[in-house]
């Protein structure tokens, strides 16, 4: 599937790997600095005390340097996996408590070390801190602000991406509509082609002269239906295969009069494929191509076979004619405006999920093949 967001290049400053490296380098520098500073104390130098070290003297707020990446990761993870009430807020509340406790614990740990008290006194020191200074809610406040900023940034980013996607989709839809209109016009042009029109009118005259008025009426009705459908600009981008085949039958009914008994049309349509959604007017250019470059070029050619089958999640549409093979030097697919238009419409509607081939079918004939996602109207 074509990625509409992928078209914009991510700026370097938004690259998290870059930031992670900066953080890691900073952490290593900090760590080395702290250890070097505390080295005399760590090695038991008699003139050095924990109170002398930056571990003790520096404010505890420096711990945020270590915590921020974890908070960012956790916030992204939590907002990604579960935004449902009430789990996400509960987890954040738990984190608020843990962060508050962590800072209290670190402060108590520092006091414990500075005063040479054993670890068993940690609960007592924590209780003392609480009694003397109350809970320090600043870390919780910082965490809450950080998470709020992260959420706001995330929502803004999503909103921006949504806006961008909507814009791109609108452009794509407009292009698709243009293509559809062009397809309609192509079909109309084809049907209004003087040769086609004159042949059809001659066929009607001939039928009427031979008192085959019912058949003449059918041709006139078919031509009218073709013209009406082609001129219908309100039509949707997609129609059911059944509807598309009905249109094709009217077209072929007219063409069969022109070719008289030489044209033999076969439909091989799996019934379960009839409600499938296909792009409007997707088959007509292929059939027209088969008539124009296949059957009409070889007097011996007469077979036109249209088939539809389901292959798992895909729909396979084929248009076969037993006309002459494709000219080597000329790719019909690329040269024909109708075929090119069909290919573009398929890409716009389905991206990489749609395919169109036009190839020789030994020993005789040419086969046009379309693969689409198997879609039906939602119930």
């Amino acid at each position: 599937m074509k990625n509409f967001q992928g078209s914009a290049t991510t700026p370097a400053w938004r690259n998290w790997r870059l930031w992670f490296v900066v953080w890691l380098v900073g952490t290593v520098i900090f760590g080395v600095l702290l250890v070097a500073d505390a080295w005399p104390w760590l090695t038991g130098s008699p003139h050095s005390t924990f109170r002398n070290t930056k571990l003790y003297l520096w404010p505890l707020g420096m711990v945020w340097w270590l915590l921020v990446p974890a908070v960012i990761w956790l916030q992204r993870k939590m907002s990604d996996i579960d935004c449902k009430w009430p789990w996400s807020p509960i987890r954040h509340l738990l984190l608020l408590g843990i962060i508050t406790g962590l800072f209290q614990l670190l402060e108590a740990g520092r006091i414990l070390l500075a005063n040479h008290l054993p670890v068993a006194f940690l609960p007592v020191v924590i209780s003392d801190l609480h009694r003397m200074e109350g809970w320090n809610y600043l870390p919780a406040l910082i965490y809450a602000l950080l998470v709020l900023v992260l959420y706001a940034t995330s929502f803004y980013g999503r909103w921006r991406a949504g806006q961008q996607l909507t814009g791109e989709l609108q452009v794509a839809n407009a292009r698709l509509e243009t293509r559809l209109v062009r397809a309609s016009l192509d079909a109309l042009k084809m049907q209004l082609h003087p040769h086609f029109l004159f042949n059809t009118l001659n066929s009607i005259t001939s039928l009427m002269r031979n008192n085959r008025t019912h058949e003449a009426e059918d041709v006139v009705a078919g031509l009218g239906e073709l013209l009406r459908r082609s001129l219908d600009h309100r039509q949707e981008a997609k129609a059911t295969l059944e509807h598309e085949l009905e249109f094709l039958r009217r077209y072929l009914a007219i063409e069969s009069i022109r070719f008289q008994d030489r044209l033999h049309v076969e439909f091989d349509i799996a019934p379960k494929c009839l409600p499938t959604l296909v792009p409007s007017l997707i088959l007509q250019p292929l059939v027209e191509n088969a008539m124009k470059h296949g059957i009409s070029k070889d007097p011996a050619a007469r077979l036109l076979r249209i088939s539809a089958a389901r292959d798992g999640t895909r729909l396979l549409l084929t248009v076969y004619n037993d006309g002459p093979p494709l000219p080597r030097e000329d790719a019909v697919l690329s040269s024909g405006i109708g075929m090119q238009n069909t290919l573009t419409r398929l890409q716009m509607l389905y991206g990489e999920e749609a395919r169109l081939w036009l190839r020789d079918q030994p020993p005789h004939g040419v086969r046009a093949e379309i693969i689409l996602p198997f879609e039906t109207l939602s119930p």
Binding site: H47, R51, M78, N115, P118
Partner: protein, 552 residues
């Protein structure tokens, strides 16, 4: 969408586990915690906790807290020390002293066997050097030496020649002090830790805390010498050159810094230290560990008072002041608010070694109403609102609210409290005098009743009561010429006169308490918190009893 669909469960589980672990730590055991055993070889080293930042410089005292006194008096020995039982001065670095006939010249004879920690003899020159240094420092505490001739102008920079100071080393062992006025409490005042001698090398040792790097630089004359010093404290070692080395039973003393006054008791409980003075009130935690400890309580030599500006309105009338004094409910307020710490004050001077306290005031609301009516304010009618001038730090003091409530309830006297910054309040007290009542806290620096009464001799501008009485001046002047029982009798007379005039109402005396491990022996009361650690010793304790009961 995530590639790890169970991530939220793991995250939740991790968070819950972390929270649980934290809760276990937070609500962990707080009773019967282990006691850290005394380090091997430290069995005879007394460890004292302190919370105030301490410097090994006798002339840079921030506040006269016991731990500071203990440290200075462990390292240095002043000329005299005060007897714990009687408060009388007794020989220390000086072996004897004598007054001139007019009692304006004091001659002190130093011990010939006094030595510095490096073996140098302690001489009178060392005291002169130290005291000149003290007078040259910009600190108010130098006023301890002001009784000496020319000391005050020298301190204020009005006199440059130190030779004109009233202190002279007649020879190595004779120190002569000359006074401007008679002052019989001078000898006791020489026990002040600030008045210790300094070795000629001390200045260099104290500069930039050089003793941190080289403790041997710090040469002292006390029972202990510096072994090492760092930000965690000071380690002292019994000094073999000290003249009384044979009587010192401790091998050493270690001063260990605690982060806060509430944390310091934990250090005693945990076995990190053996002594904490002062021990904050309300911080006892029986059962925290199994260490045996006890509390020792002593009265501080000071008084908390309500001072009247006797130059203002109805307060000029002694009956009004007596009425206000009688209406105060000291006992009820103290029992209700802080019975462990405070003691009701019934006179100006608290009980002290060699001098029991007097009961010169009482609580009698009926008599108070009668006196106020006699002064022309029955039921407080027509009595102006009293302007009470207070420092900002007292904004939440519960006692003041109680006392002013007493005045209103019993006498119908209303009070308006003015909480002001220190400088504004000082200006009001000394310059403008626009206040009726203020709050006073007096702390003595000498174990002598005369020192506390001398506040009423201060010049009017520095005396918050603005009260003077010639009889009191005469009595205190006479007491300065006497010693012993004769002096005490004169001081009692003066105190009775002051309390009869009630320029200030003594309301409370402060108690100080020390927390000691039961191994510590030899502790004694000292109203100035100047216990000499050389008198203490350690004995192992076998029985376990964790409740620190006060021994007052």
């Amino acid at each position: 969408m995530t590639s790890f669909p169970r991530a939220h469960w793991w995250i939740s589980l991790t968070l819950l586990s972390l929270g649980g672990l934290m809760a276990m730590v937070f609500f962990g055991p707080r009773q019967s915690l282990p006691v850290i055993p005394r380090p091997a070889g430290e069995g005879n080293v007394l460890r004292e906790a302190y919370t105030q930042y301490l410097l090994l410089d006798p002339h840079r005292r921030l506040a006269p807290l016991p731990a500071y006194n203990h440290l200075i008096l462990s390292l240095w020995e002043p000329l005299v020390e005060c007897d714990p039982a009687t408060g009388e001065p007794r020989p220390a670095a000086a072996q004897s002293w004598s007054w001139s006939e007019d009692r304006k010249v004091l001659t002190l004879q130093l011990r010939p066997d006094a030595r510095w920690s490096n073996g140098d003899p302690v001489t009178a020159h060392d005291f002169v050097r130290s005291w000149r240094r003290l007078l040259g420092r910009p600190m108010e505490l130098a006023q301890t030496l002001f009784p000496l001739r020319s000391a005050e102008p020298f301190h204020r920079g009005q006199l440059k020649d130190p030779e004109k100071l009233g202190m002279r080393a007649m020879d190595d062992l004779t120190l002569r002090l000359e006074l401007d006025q008679v002052r019989s409490s001078l000898v006791a005042e020489l026990a002040d830790p600030m008045l210790v001698p300094l070795h000629r090398s001390s200045e260099a040792a104290m500069a930039d805390n050089a003793y941190f790097r080289d403790p041997a630089l710090m040469v002292t004359n006390g029972p202990f010498q510096l072994l090492w010093a760092n930000d965690d404290g000071f380690r002292l070692l019994a000094c073999e050159f000290y003249h009384g080395h044979a009587e010192v039973r401790l091998a050493g003393v270690q001063f260990i810094r605690a982060n806060s006054s509430s944390l310091a008791p934990l250090l005693v409980s945990a076995g990190v230290v053996d002594l904490l003075s002062p021990m904050p009130f309300g911080e006892s935690r029986p059962g925290l560990t199994e260490r045996r400890m006890h509390l020792e309580r002593e009265l501080e030599l000071g008084v908390t008072s309500v001072d009247f500006n006797v130059t203002r309105g109805p307060l000029r009338d002694v009956r009004v002041r007596q009425a206000l004094a009688l209406a105060l409910d000291r006992t009820g307020a103290i029992n209700r608010l802080d019975s462990g710490h405070m003691v009701p004050a019934w006179s100006w001077i608290p009980p002290m070694p060699g001098r029991p306290g007097l009961t010169l005031l009482q609580e009698d609301a009926t008599q108070a109403r009668r006196l106020l009516a006699a002064a022309g304010y029955p039921g407080g009618q027509g009595f102006p609102v009293l302007q009470m001038c207070l420092p900002l730090r007292m904004r939440s003091d519960p006692f003041l609210a109680t006392w002013t409530e007493c005045w209103f309830r019993e006498l119908g006297v209303k009070t308006h409290m003015l909480y002001e910054p220190q400088d504004v309040r000082a200006k009001r007290l000394t310059a403008t005098g626009e206040y009726d009542v203020t709050y006073g806290e007096l702390v003595a620096t000498v174990p002598d009743a005369g020192d506390m009464l001398s506040v009423f001799l201060w010049p009017v501008e520095y005396n918050s009561t603005k009260w003077t009485d010639q009889d009191v001046v005469h009595l205190l002047g006479e007491a300065n010429t006497k010693t012993g029982a004769e002096r005490l009798a004169l001081l009692e007379k003066a105190e009775r006169l002051v309390m009869a005039a009630v320029p200030a109402v003594p309301v409370m005396f402060n108690r100080r308490q020390a927390l000691l491990a039961d191994e510590v022996h030899g502790w004694y009361e000292d109203p100035l918190g100047r216990q000499s650690l050389k008198r203490l010793w350690l004995e192992p304790v076998t029985t376990l009893d964790a409740s620190p009961e006060p021994r007052t």
